[in-house]
Symmetry: C2
Subunit: 168 residues, 2 copies
């Protein structure tokens, strides 16, 4: 049964047979899939500080965005990197995917490491987004996670998957 | 405006003033907060394999669960560890929190490292959950993340925050 269908989210209620045999009505949130990108330039990377209305505050995140109809993850990654940072990447390395919170949503985020960056001529800011781009040293990322500067799950996973904690 | 209120999820639509000045109707999913625990015994830890109806498959996760009314995160961690694994922890170390996916939900998961484990007499399986508990070597966790055995965001964040990649 459909509970809600919006521009981005589709929410349904479905009867699920539980392991014990009982049926239970469960709500599943389908936000579509997304990508997150860690753009790296030498010993630094680009991160964003942006206001998230769902949590009511500014948080630090890797560039990210939702896949549009017909888009492959790598295409979304290239598009979102330009839209959010103004930089294009010649090299985009897939770093797997994550389920963000499989207790109630099927959302997957595909992770990418972006290399060989250059300013893009296609850059035009999304007026609905207030994003501050800043550079962080790769060697500082672990500290930023441990001290709570970075609390966004996809960003922590991306940093882990890109292996800075060990390789840098 | 309330879209849905269930046992676990509360979903609302709210007019948000965007940075560009326009108001937009945005949907926010409130699942309540949760905890995730990495229970460690020597050079091994306990993980779960469980069926997640939202993604339609079995996935590997750290023990986790939702905070009940009036519970503190550490109390939920102690309760859920027993409920899901049958083990109690004498030592429960807070490892920060994460926002699972702040694009549409305010869900926070508080992370804990559990030590000094012993079988609990309070253990009784939840009949709605089909959970297989298994032991994994700490030194194998990085490989399990890199090869896609672990794709659950909170579990990857927990492993990162507990610093096995560097300390083990």
């Amino acid at each position: 049964m459909e509970i809600y269908r919006g521009r981005r989210l589709w929410i349904e209620s479905r009867a699920i047979r539980m392991p014990g045999g009982r049926e239970r009505e469960k709500v599943i949130v389908h936000p579509g899939n997304a990508v997150a990108i860690l753009p790296i330039d030498g010993d630094r990377c680009k991160l964003l500080r942006q206001f998230r209305y769902a949590v009511g505050k500014h948080i630090v995140e890797a560039p990210a965005g939702t896949m549009e109809e017909g888009e492959e993850p790598i295409g979304t990654a290239r598009r979102e990197l330009i839209e959010e940072t103004g930089f294009a990447a010649r090299t985009m390395i897939p770093r797997g995917f994550i389920y963000t919170t499989p207790g109630f949503t099927d959302e997957r985020i595909f992770l990418f490491e972006a290399r060989d960056l250059s300013p893009s001529s296609e850059f035009s800011k999304d007026e609905d987004e207030e994003i501050e781009v800043f550079d962080a040293a790769l060697r500082d990322l672990d500290t930023m996670i441990l001290d709570g500067t970075i609390v966004d799950a996809k960003t922590i996973c991306l940093i882990h998957l890109c292996r800075w904690c060990c390789d840098a």
